[in-house]
């Protein structure tokens, strides 16, 4: 088909293209500004910024005036976020470890087992749950979930304490990566579940019927058709959830006790998280510290962007098939 565009059409197309490219530009701008503002930090600390484990700042208020003495004192500052990156990964992995089975099970239940009457209700509830602000998850986590999580942590430590990651030096389980990870799991489950459910609902009917025609049970059909068919979609959903878990700020801020040290005890009341560290340190940060925090934001941005790009490329590759 040969399409001939009039002049008005060309203008229209140009305006629309410009509008569509804003999001592209925006992403580029975010990266550019973060790199620009964190340049000082990276040029001073280099790769050590990511591997080191010390955060020490001396100085003044970011928006107030700085005296020369204070600015000079800032040179003694050392910034690095190694434990925070590891901590972010640990908490996010705990969350995903809990969230993925729950999401897959929940999605399969909603799509294939739930009675007709409550199917609608469950899907609506799922949508609503995905809309709960993470701040409220944080409040709930502190006031309601923490006692339960601490009980689980005590139990784990009691029975499985011989496994290194479940052992602790001091028995203080509140605000530990484990409890924070549980709350984060509750936060991530709506996202991963709705993606998984959507993928499962697109399983070709014929394939499932074939299973039943061959005398298979429902589980047989799910195992041999639904799960393989939805695998890439579920992985993409899990990656989206992982991206969310890595970037989560306030819920972790409230649920986790930030400590600038590497630790391999997930039940201990000490952990790290890049996003909530930024929020925590931001209030009384010095000029140099803000540059370091922006550098931390850049690291977080790159990590989540990679995770999300993998997720969306899986989604885009698997969509046409459906």
């Amino acid at each position: 088909m040969v399409v001939v565009y009039s002049r008005a059409d060309k203008i229209f197309r140009r305006i629309v293209t410009a509008g569509a490219l804003t999001s592209l530009m925006l992403l580029g701008l975010i990266a550019a500004f973060l790199i620009f503002r964190s340049w000082d930090t990276f040029s001073q600390f280099g790769f050590k910024f990511i591997t080191g484990s010390e955060w020490f700042s001396a100085g003044e208020d970011p928006l107030g005036g700085a005296t020369t003495a204070l600015v000079e004192a800032q040179d003694a500052s050392v910034f690095s976020i190694g434990p925070m990156i590891v901590g972010s990964l640990v908490v996010a992995l705990i969350a995903m470890f809990l969230a993925v089975p729950l999401s897959v099970g929940g999605a399969l239940y909603i799509e294939f087992y739930a009675p007709k009457g409550i199917y609608r209700v469950l899907v609506t509830l799922l949508d609503l749950a995905a809309a709960i602000p993470s701040l409220i998850f944080g409040l709930w986590g502190i006031q309601i979930f923490t006692p339960i999580g601490v009980r689980w942590a005590t139990l784990l430590n009691d029975r499985l304490g011989f496994i290194p990651i479940f052992s602790v030096e001091f028995e203080n389980f509140a605000r530990s990566p484990f409890v924070a990870g549980c709350v984060l799991a509750a936060l991530v489950v709506p996202i991963t579940t709705s993606v998984a459910r959507e993928v499962y609902s697109r399983t070709p009917r014929d394939l499932i019927d074939t299973c039943f025609a061959l005398g298979g049970t429902k589980w047989g059909a799910i195992r041999s058709v639904v799960i393989p068919y939805g695998k890439s979609g579920v992985i993409a959903g899990a990656m989206l959830g992982l991206g969310r878990a890595l970037g989560e700020t306030v819920a972790i801020y409230l649920m986790l006790n930030l400590v600038f040290d590497y630790s391999n005890e997930i039940l201990d009341s000490a952990g790290g998280n890049v996003a909530s560290m930024i929020a925590l340190k931001f209030g009384e940060a010095t000029d140099k510290e803000i540059s370091a925090l922006i550098a931390a934001g850049l690291v977080l941005f790159v990590i989540t962007l990679i995770v999300n790009m993998i997720a969306s490329s899986i989604v885009q590759r698997s969509t046409p098939r459906a």
């Binding site: 099970g105 294939f112 007709k116 609503l128 809309a131 709960i132 602000p133």
Partner: protein
């Protein structure tokens, strides 16, 4: 399982369903579950399993045991099928319990500090520890609404433009734009806050509602673009062809045929975006902070918003301030769900098309 698919095609014809669950079977099932629940309760008394979660584990194990016993004469395949039914059901229950717990908690803890003045007064003349009949979150609600309005004014046109680009113009960068929009949905909220802090707050030298609104816009854009694209995809090609057949150019077809068709859907896109960002806390902590009084000028320094109000009340740490935080959460949750329901209602045209999809899904369920 209990009805024949494709019956919908012959309304009025109801086949006999001898396999349907009768009332007495249902009663039997329910009473069985009640007995199991009670036994599980007894288990929590005598064994280390404790509290509600321990009870749930006991209940699940009893159910699995019963299913295994029931189906032992049917063979391994059926048994596995039945056990997995119980497992999936309980996984779904476990997944839903936290959310239900959140709804209930917010309601139970949130209603305490509510009085009419809560929506109209600010915290200038009262402290977080005061009785609940003075002070309120009016300033925070106003601040939130102003910032969300700024974000909407910016993102709605951009989102619609990118939707049109992806569905109507279909330029060379379609794939890239879609990919970037999807990836952008995952930008951590705190990073959006940092970005606006460096580009707006620092040059202006002060925190402001404008900055907060811009930070929310960054987070809102992907949601709006994606929903707008989904909605525009629903417009049948016949309509476009009709437009062209009447001699309209592409721009006229797009503006006068396609967009009006999905008007409510595009509003839905905006509202979904609002529901997505109205509860964002982290970016506002970096861009608009919090204050105790009403601020109507988006460029006039720090502004309170519901999330930062809740956050600061909660961090204040007394019983009364925590109660105020929960009330704020209740208001926030009601706002979010209100916008969400509104979006659903308005998306009626979109739902019409989606209905065919869901009918397919339901047929699928019936057969399996």
């Amino acid at each position: 399982m209990n009805s024949v698919p494709a019956v919908d095609q012959y309304p009025g014809v109801e086949p006999l369903r001898p396999w349907a669950v009768t009332r007495s079977t249902r009663l039997k099932n329910l009473s069985r579950l009640a007995v199991f629940a009670f036994v599980a309760f007894l288990v929590t008394i005598i064994t280390p399993l404790a509290k509600f979660d321990g009870w749930a584990v006991a209940f699940l194990l009893i159910n699995v045991a019963w299913v295994v016993g029931q189906n032992s004469r049917l063979g391994a395949k059926e048994r596995r099928d039945a056990v997995l039914r119980v497992v999936f059901t309980s996984l779904a229950v476990v997944a839903f319990v936290p959310w239900l717990s959140i709804f209930v908690t917010v309601l139970l803890k949130g209603y305490r500090a509510i009085y009419p003045g809560y929506f109209f007064s600010d915290m200038r003349t009262s402290t977080p520890e005061d009785e609940f009949n003075i002070g309120g979150a009016g300033h925070a609600i106003v601040g939130s609404l102003i910032m969300v309005a700024i974000a909407t004014v910016i993102t709605l046109p951009l989102g619609i433009l990118s939707g049109i680009y992806l569905t109507e113009v279909r330029g060379r960068m379609t794939f890239l734009v879609r990919f970037i929009v999807q990836s952008m949905a995952g930008v951590p909220s705190v990073v959006a806050g940092l970005f606006i802090f460096t580009t707006v707050v620092q040059p202006m030298g002060k925190y402001s509602g404008m900055a907060g609104g811009l930070a929310l816009a960054v987070l809102m854009l992907p949601t709006v673009s994606r929903t707008a694209e989904e909605v525009l995809k629903l417009v049948p090609d016949d309509l476009r062809s009709a437009g062209y057949a009447l001699g309209a150019r592409q721009w006229r077809t797009a503006i006068m045929v396609v967009l009006p068709t999905v008007k409510s859907g595009l509003i839905t896109a905006g509202i979904l975006g609002i529901a997505r960002v109205i509860g964002e806390t982290a970016p506002l902590l970096l861009t608009s902070l919090n204050t105790n009084g009403f601020v109507w000028n988006p460029a006039g320094g720090t502004v309170a918003s519901l999330p930062t109000y809740i956050f600061s009340m909660f961090m204040y740490g007394t019983e009364y301030s925590a109660a105020r935080a929960w009330t704020g959460s209740l208001v926030l949750l009601v706002l979010v769900f209100g916008f969400f329901t509104l979006a659903r209602r308005l998306g009626a045209t979109a739902a019409q098309t989606a209905k065919t999809d869901s009918r397919k899904a339901r047929n699928l369920k019936k057969k399996s």
